[in-house]
Amino acid sequence: MNIKTPLSRARGLGHASEGVSHFWRQRVTAVALIPLVIWFIYSAVGLAWKPYGAAIDFVAEPHNAVFLLLLIWASIIHLRLGLQTVIEDYVHDRFAKLACLILNDFFAAIVGVTCALAVIKIFVLAIPA
């Protein structure tokens, strides 16, 4: 039996009013992270024993800066959605759950903005005057 109105069925947003967006964004970021993580591991191995200057030169390279920002962006979305699922699975107290979900959002925002700002600062300062 389907008691949905035709309009709500067409919208497909469901009870939480967001449809399959959680599922979908988790998968899209997962696909994006496959090449980004392989690139990151390769780059990290290359930089492991290098001095400060080499690391600066690395981030100053435009394609590396772009990949780093994409890696940060996709990782933050992916980890925020993943931790949200873990919280919803294990934290049942209403207040504690709400607090954890908000802290999760704050964690993702703070770490993401901090990482991105560091990359942008290094990149911009390395532009020859």
């Binding site: 780093l68 931790l83 990359v119």
Partner: protein, 150 residues
């Protein structure tokens, strides 16, 4: 059954005890977690979640590295020195093995989402493959890293 029922229509504590004593012990029982033989699919599923949470916290390692690099040579050398120490290397190794496992098993999940390889035998096989491959790839990455050092 009727003989052990009291007149009140429900079982008293001593009556339940008596029933339990008279029940044969050979009946099949549900295995508890500690004596359950873990299927590979169960192990890989739990590991996927554990490594996922670990990697989320491990994002702080990347944040520290980037912030130190943005702050200047002194901060960067300090973070690099920490990474080179015993605790640092342990954290980096844990981060790398979690990252590689989560990456490989994540590909397995994407295939499942697309409707492939979700049957019992196939998921057991790919689970074993992912476990072995993540150990080999992690060791290869670290071997390469020490090779690069020269």
């Amino acid at each position: 059954m009727r003989s052990v029922l009291s007149k009140k229509g429900h079982l008293s504590g001593s009556e339940i005890k008596k029933m339990a004593e008279n029940t044969p012990r050979q009946r099949p029982r549900s295995p508890f977690l500690t004596i359950y033989r873990w299927p590979v699919t169960m192990l890989t599923s739990i590991l996927h979640r554990v490594t996922g949470v670990g990697l989320a916290l491990g994002m702080l390692l990347l944040a520290c590295w980037l912030v130190a690099l943005a702050l200047g040579p002194a901060a960067y050398e300090a973070v690099q020195a920490f990474h080179g120490g015993v605790i640092g290397r342990f954290l980096l190794f844990g981060f790398s093995v979690a990252l590689i496992y989560h990456l490989l098993n994540g590909v397995r999940h994407l295939f499942w989402d697309a409707g492939h390889g979700f049957d019992k035998d196939r998921s057991e096989q790919t689970g074993q493959l992912v476990l072995v491959a993540s150990v080999i790839v992690t060791l290869a990455v670290w071997l390469l890293a020490y090779q690069v050092r020269g």
